[in-house]
């Protein structure tokens, strides 16, 4: 336990991990601050920003803020650079793989996804979808309210979903990957010692196997039809019922607008539904893995989901 904690503090104080801890602090602070502002604006009715309608001259009122900020930022960087050296380990050695091998810290959320999805999904399709989804946001969010001020009441669904994605699926997974993943990418609590020989029971099974004898392949190597049917039906069913839930319950309730789906139109709604439901496969897969030891929902010789 003590060794574990010592290792944890070592991780926290690693030069490359200092900014991550700083980021965590800033994210928590800004989330608290912006939510406080949002709730205050909602209470007031008119946003507080709207009371500052008059205009001020950029010189000196904005330029002096920019100048002072630059001075402070450079001062912080200087102190930081004098105080903490950037790490330089032993020379590159392709023959010796460190354990754990971790990607750069901002990709640890994606590396974490590798535990739950195959590389082509976690490493290629999902990063691409994250970019595409981010770029699609302004074109699918037709709510004219909440432009230019903090609010929660007027944009419940948009803000709620973004907070979930950013705080849990991005920031939290980065922290998890940095501090709690040890040798073999196994999970270690802060107080646990990193054991390179930790044995994790590998009795994971595929989703169809929960319903009977439906392994990915039969004993003779042929594809198990039942497996494919159950697996594909589960995926199709997830998107089908997820779509219904989103259309009939979640969107109308969150936006307090019964006609929201009609207003969005098929293309916009389809985009929203696809990205939201696909994004939610990540937490669903995590839960399935942790509770039922599910490896794949559908496994074929070509692709696994």
């Amino acid at each position: 336990m003590e060794e574990g904690l010592k290792n944890f503090w070592h991780l926290v104080s690693l030069p490359d991990n200092v900014p991550i801890i700083g980021m965590l602090g800033l994210v928590i602070f800004y989330t608290w601050q912006s939510m406080r502002k949002a709730l205050r604006n909602d209470r007031l009715g008119t946003p507080i920003e709207a009371s500052m309608t008059d205009r001020v001259q950029v010189w000196p009122y904005l330029v002096r803020i920019e100048f002072l900020t630059s001075v402070v930022v450079i001062l912080i960087l200087t102190v930081w650079s004098v105080g903490i050296d950037a790490p330089l380990e032993e020379p590159a050695n392709p023959g010796r793989t460190p354990n754990p091998s971790k990607a750069p810290w901002y990709f640890l959320g994606l590396q974490e996804m590798l535990v739950y999805f195959d590389p082509w999904l976690a490493g290629i399709v999902f990063p691409f979808l994250i970019q595409a989804g981010l770029m699609a946001i302004p074109y699918v969010d037709i709510n004219p309210k909440g432009n230019g001020y903090y609010t929660w009441k007027e944009r419940r669904f948009a803000i709620g979903f973004f907070l979930f994605g950013f705080l849990i699926l991005w920031v939290f997974l980065i922290i998890l990957g940095t501090l709690l993943r040890g040798p073999g990418w196994n999970f270690f609590f802060p107080w646990e010692e990193w054991d390179a020989h930790k044995v994790v029971a590998a009795n994971s099974r595929d989703w169809p196997e929960l319903f009977g004898k439906f392994p990915a392949k039969n004993v003779d190597g042929s594809i198990n039809t039942g497996h494919v049917i159950i697996g594909s039906l589960s995926i199709i069913g997830y998107y089908f019922f997820g779509n219904l839930l989103l259309k009939k319950v979640i969107l109308p309730r969150a936006t307090k607008d019964k006609d929201i789906v009609k207003k969005l139109g098929p293309l916009r709604y389809g985009t929203v539904a696809f990205f939201v439901l696909t994004c939610m496969t990540m937490p669903i897969k995590i839960i399935l893995r942790l509770t039922l030891d599910v490896k794949y929902v559908l496994s074929t010789p070509w692709i696994n989901f």
Partner: protein
């Protein structure tokens, strides 16, 4: 308008006064060197404050005036600006590092060691480069977080958000390519883990879904693992060619693309109406802009209606004659009271025209007394 015309050309003042008995500071401000650099005089007034922004190639990214909420750090968090600053810091320190670093597998690590131990301030420069780079990634994320929470991606700023997402990707790419350059264990294994993903690209990666089928159909033109990852790394694993590739991407290609997109990003901020603000502010901005184009109702609209009215009643041929008669009757009838009324209306009209050019009501200083009452006039 009037006081802009009244201020004389500074260069002429220098010639006519010729220095002489003025104190040293004053002489400096009127010297040819000062006036050649700053293009306007030093006196603190609104005009010079505006010129300070307009006449400076860097500062004129800004408008001359912004809404009060736009300089509220609690609203903007200042993260976009800090990101730009960090980009500049990494560029400057990066160039200094390039003086000492050679991107070949024989020299790279030794050059790093020299930087850390022998080069004067080498460790400091490298540390600053790395910490600024990490901070930049964080600041980009926080900037996007703020932009999302304030709904600033909404019309008319949709496309600037798209550019911003691309800048996020470029920032990550810059950081990722830079990660390899120290050529130590941390570097090559982080890049190995990161680039292993490229193996799994559907069709194009040799370990991706449908790769064997694709290889049979089209082929990668060589070994089965000569795939997209091969193109990225210049080999089947992270090696000397990878180092050179990442170096070129990191120091030439990606910074140029990023700088260009940054320019577009900033330009779009201005074109899309500056920092986002609540509807009241957008509304006021529109009113301010529109009032510059307005003519006073008192002066112009009745005249137009007056003429149109006569045109309709008297017909196209006779309306001029009818108006002439009408005006003569008006002149005869007008008592002193009526004349007074017309006079006040005229004055109001004149003030309204002046007011359209000057709508500020906070930071008003002693030399601008006339603006205060026109402002009140404006806000009715």
């Amino acid at each position: 308008m009037s006081d802009i015309i009244k201020v004389p050309n500074k260069r002429q003042v220098v010639k006519s006064d010729g220095g002489g008995k003025k104190d040293l500071v004053q002489q400096f401000y009127e010297s040819q060197i000062y006036t050649s650099i700053f293009r306007h005089d030093y006196k603190d007034n609104k005009r010079n404050r505006a010129l300070q922004i307009v006449n400076n190639v860097f500062l004129h990214l800004h408008p001359t005036r912004v809404s009060r909420h736009a300089i509220d750090v609690g609203y903007t968090w200042g993260m976009g600006g800090i990101t730009l600053l960090l980009f500049i810091v990494t560029a400057v320190t990066g160039i200094l590092l390039m003086f000492y670093y050679r991107p070949t597998s024989e020299y790279a690590y030794n050059d790093m060691k020299q930087l850390m131990h022998d080069v004067p301030f080498g460790a400091f420069i490298r540390n600053m480069h790395r910490w600024a780079a990490h901070s930049m990634v964080i600041c980009v994320m926080l900037h996007m977080y703020r932009v999302f929470l304030t709904g600033s991606y909404k019309p008319p700023r949709e496309f600037n958000w798209v550019i911003g997402v691309n800048l996020l990707v470029l920032t990550l790419a810059l950081s990722f390519t830079g990660y390899l350059l120290p050529w130590d264990q941390l570097a090559i294994w982080a890049i190995t883990v990161g680039s292993n993903m490229a193996r799994a690209v559907p069709f194009l990666g040799h370990a991706g879904p449908f790769a064997p089928e694709f290889h049979q159909l089209v082929g990668f033109g060589g070994a089965p693992d000569a795939d997209v990852r091969f193109i990225l790394l210049g080999g089947t694993e992270v090696g000397a060619p990878t180092l050179l590739r990442f170096y070129v991407l990191h120091t030439v290609f990606l910074p140029i693309v990023t700088a260009v997109l940054l320019a577009v990003h900033f330009w779009r901020i201005r074109k899309d109406g500056g920092i986002s603000g609540p509807p009241m502010i957008e509304f006021n901005k529109a009113v301010t802009d529109a009032s510059k184009l307005k003519v006073s109702v008192v002066d112009h609209l009745p005249k137009y209606e007056y003429v149109q009215g006569f045109k309709q009643v008297e017909g196209e041929q006779n309306f001029k004659e009818a108006i002439r008669k009408d005006l003569e009757i008006l002149k005869q009838k007008s008592s002193s009271k009526l004349a007074n009324l017309i006079n006040t209306i005229d004055q109001a009209a004149e003030q309204n025209i002046k007011g359209g050019e000057n709508t500020e009501n906070k930071d008003n200083h002693q030399n601008h007394n006339n603006t205060t009452n026109t402002d009140e006039h404006q806000h009715h």
